[in-house]
Amino acid sequence: MVIIGAGECGGRAALTLRDLGFEGPVALVGDEPHLPYERPPLSKEAMTSEAPLIKAIASDELLAERSIRHIHSVRAVAIDRIAHSVRLSDGSWLAYDKLLLATGSVPRKLPMPGLGGRCVYLRTFNDALAIRAHLSAGNRVAIIGGGFIGLELAASARKLGATVTVLEAQPRILMRGVPGEIAQIIHRAHEAEGVKVLTGQGITAIADDGAEVRITLADGQEIVADLAVIGIGAVPVTALAAEAGLAVDNGIAVDATLRTEDPDIFAAGDCCSFPLAIYGGRRVRLEAWRNAQQQGALAANNMLGANEAHAAVPWFWSDQYGLTLQIAGLSDEGRSTVRRDLDDGAFILFHLAGDGRLVAASGIGPGNAVARDIRLAEMLIAKRAAPAPEALGSQAVKLKSLLAA
């Protein structure tokens, strides 16, 4: 078994192969020098904790004990599907019976001239270390893109005392996948913490002279920063698959069992697009920690012949200041919303399809105030339940009771 990509997804797949009792060789190939690690802390704890520790999914000892060969600092450069072999950037070949592509995604590049060494992206632990060095008190940080990475980083930078400006070209932050009502709360939280959030304005020019970055906005306003972090989305890493003749459709195209059109090659996590049965087979690609983990485990299972379909409801979270946002399901499938208020200002928006079916739930509140109800909502979504809107909207009605119905 060969796994390309040693992130959350690939690492989880390797461990799962062993959990399931597979005894043959397992190779895990990653282009970073580190052990497989969790990326969610990179925009948060890795910035704000005293020492930036890597949160490894498996230690060297565990990998050795489970006979997982971790080949690090090496890329896969070609797949020979006929010979069942992968060529690595060090020139060696690795034979496979089943191959898993867990190549992940990389930050979308800002297609503008003028970017220099003070214009950076965040994807890896090493990226995080480089950014962290600039987030001290008094430093000016510009965040290009009001998405999750940018906003989490803005919160971390404020915590460290930096002056922070968030620049979003869209009319509001978090346009993709987050309801406006919730985005507004996050927007206000950032302003209350002293972040300048500028929305609805594109960037017309960037000049990075090595000492500072000057960003010119559409209205002529100029933002000067010591560091510009670009967080404008991610693109799936698909070149290896495409060059091997595999179909790519907003990610490496796989079926519900995460298999590509080649029966011996699977793809999972950020790099793949797959059909979601609960939304009528709609093809989606998810950039989320839990999806990477679940698909890594499922791919391992299917590499061993289980032939199980991915059935999990999409779910993700974001932490900013004391607030946590959690979303289950795809909210753009909804036609109407019902609001349920919880304690401490927390609330959940339930998104219902035209036929009354619950298709998503978005919640925000302090700490983990929305976690339990979002989890229950996720189970209701998986069951394709169509609970009465009045029941969803009333805090007096326990969501767990709707699950039993």
């Binding site: 839990r290 983990q293 485990a297 976690a371 229950l376």
Partner: protein
């Protein structure tokens, strides 16, 4: 250190639910199972220090509110990724409508 400490009233926790209990600088989670028995574990998830009492109880499983790590709260056993370290459990008894937990 084998004293029984009163944590809450038995009626404070719904069936198949969990409640946080802080005592002497530590935090615990007290559970009431669907078959009306009471249990106690350490209050923080062993993956990232998150209060389990904000999580969901389903049968004999508590699920961490942050990353869905699962534990059997009756035994403390970790039940799958991302958690791999078991939770410490504590003896519990109900006496005159009070839930008592034995710390030590």
């Amino acid at each position: 250190m084998n004293d029984w400490v009163e944590a809450c009233a038995a009626a404070d926790i719904d069936e198949e639910d969990v409640m946080r209990f802080d005592h002497a600088g530590r935090t615990y989670a007290i559970y009431r199972s669907p078959d009306d028995e009471y249990f106690a574990t350490d209050g923080l998830c062993s993956h990232e220090k998150v209060h389990l009492a904000d999580g969901l109880v389903m049968d004999d499983i508590i699920e961490c509110p942050k990353h869905n790590g699962r534990f059997n709260y009756k035994t403390g056993d970790a039940r799958g990724a991302p958690v791999c370290v078991n939770l410490k459990t504590y003896p519990v008894k109900v006496d005159a409508g009070k839930v008592l937990i034995q710390l030590g």
